[in-house]
Amino acid sequence: MGIEAFCMQILNMNKNCIKMVMKEMIVLNERIKKKHAVDPGTAASLIRLEQVGKSYGSRKVLSEISLSLDRGESLILRGGNGSGKSTLLKLVAGIIPASSGHIHRSSMQLQMGYAPDRLPKLRMTSEEYLIHMGQIAGMPKTALTTRIEELHELLELPAHSPSLLIHYSKGMLQKVNLMQACLLRPALLLLDEPFSGLDTDSSEKLLTLLHGLRAEGTAVVTALHDPLPSWESVSTTYRIREGQLILEETNTDEASNFGSVRYELDGLLAEGARERLAAAFPHVDWTAAGNAVRCEIPSEDCHAFMHDFWRVEGIVLSLKRKEGGV
């Protein structure tokens, strides 16, 4: 073998070696990616609970809870009354100490917002109260004022009302409660029964707020009783049963979730046109009184139905999106 052929063989061997090493690296890289995909409880986690338990005397409320939460992640806690949902939220917030296990936070200064199940009735206006909470949290005055007005507007509560919180209804207090939790755009938002006492419109507004915060990277943990499809579809649901945290297999299939969304249309429509539309859209529920109609339209029919409704010169008085739980 000449020196030239020998060199070529070495070069080929090196090429093969490089190819093999590269192949190995790609496989390794894929493995690492997969590991992160199934195990988010790594250094990136905002908060991580390891075998956390909580007992009051001899009564064990929670045992061996392991959980991790990343930015933008949403988690729903379900369970009966006294099952330990609020206790778990308080543990995550650091309000109460764990009896066993460890809680790791990404930072000691992790910004958390917490809305307890109900806010006590204070002798302050909502604006005074929120200014105090913002100032205690160290928010700059201008940013605080803007944020307070923004939240009042979003949740449809008068920002400069002179009424004290002691005169507020349950739903209005709940809105103030949620506002104080969301004041700082926290990295981790913990909500205990946030929809309790809210009317349909306010619940939808709150959902919009939560979706917005989540999109900005806020991790949200909510203790819920009622079904809430649009929030469940973007959340991992756990059920607390006998102190244990059990992952609940929720139907997150978009199609099935899509089906639970309906639109409620109030409008005016001539009788003849109504019959034609009713025949074309058999899944639409009709209530009629003269020309006035109310239609419950499945989400998948909405686009076509509205097109035809206007084509037959129907007049829309209002159109509302409705979800199964709200």
Binding site: Y56, K90, A93, G94, I95, I96, P97, Q109, M112, G113, Y114, A115, P116, D117, R118, L119, P120, L122, R123, M124, E128, H132, M133, G134, Q135, I136, A137, G138, N177, Q180, A181, L183
Partner: protein
């Protein structure tokens, strides 16, 4: 801290919880000084001992001024229970001290004392009142629903502890030989009352000793309380 103090001031004022201890204290002063003339430092001894009790009541009321749910939210905004509880103790101390300053100035200005006190007497009387206000508040912090399941038992034990502080001298005399050191565990109220009663007979060191002892006792009590609360957090025993 200033934001916390402002918030606590608004909560306390609008809760009207300050009413009972403040008005009772002021009413007692008015009653006592309705007749005169009164001895200068002897009168201050009386008003400071009553302030000690009023400060304890104010301390209890300020520590529990927030409902449990609200306290959780405030704690998260303040990012520390120690900061929040420290602010409550500080606020209660400031509030009780203002009552103490009133107790010093009111009889002097209205001429209810046998003579107008000297500036030194006014200054020292103010210090005695302020230090006893701090002592009362630092003790009261322990006897709230944060550490006791029942408010009734908390108040009962606080009252017993205050009564023991008043009777420390007698308890010391009644204890067997070698056991009198036990009175050092009790709040050093008697030192202040003794200094005020025999003020003219005491040297400089003996006049300042009660202030130092009271401040040290109050500081130790408050530090231990904050350390305990930091460990327990808002794990109320009633839950």
């Amino acid at each position: 801290m200033i934001a916390l103090l402002q918030y606590l001031h608004r909560c306390f004022m609008r809760s009207y919880r300050y009413g009972a201890p403040s008005f009772i204290y002021i009413a007692i002063l008015m009653l006592i000084y309705s007749s005169g003339p009164n001895p200068v430092m002897g009168s201050y001894a009386f008003s400071s001992s009553i302030l000690f009790v009023a400060a304890a009541a104010i301390g209890c009321l300020v520590m529990d001024v927030e409902a449990a749910n609200q306290e959780m939210a405030t704690m998260l905004h303040a990012r520390s229970l120690v900061r929040l509880s420290g602010a409550k103790l500080l606020y209660a101390w400031i509030f009780a001290s203002s009552l103490g300053l009133f107790a010093v100035i009111y009889p002097a200005v209205l001429g209810r004392l046998e003579r107008f006190p000297s500036w030194e007497e006014l200054g020292m009387a103010s210090l005695y009142h302020i230090s006893l206000a701090g002592l009362g508040v630092s003790l009261a912090g322990w006897f709230t629903v944060k550490l006791f399941e029942s408010r009734f038992y908390a108040v009962l034990i606080l009252c017993t502890w205050l009564a023991l502080a008043f009777g420390a001298g007698g308890i010391g005399n009644a204890l067997p030989e070698g056991w009198s050191w036990m009175t050092y565990i009790l709040p050093p109220l008697q030192l202040t009352l003794h200094a005020l009663t025999f003020y003219d007979e005491l040297g400089t060191g003996a006049k300042w000793l009660p202030v130092g002892a009271t401040v040290v006792y109050a500081a130790v009590s408050a530090t231990l309380l904050l350390w305990t609360l930091r460990r327990r957090r808002l794990d109320y025993p009633g839950e």
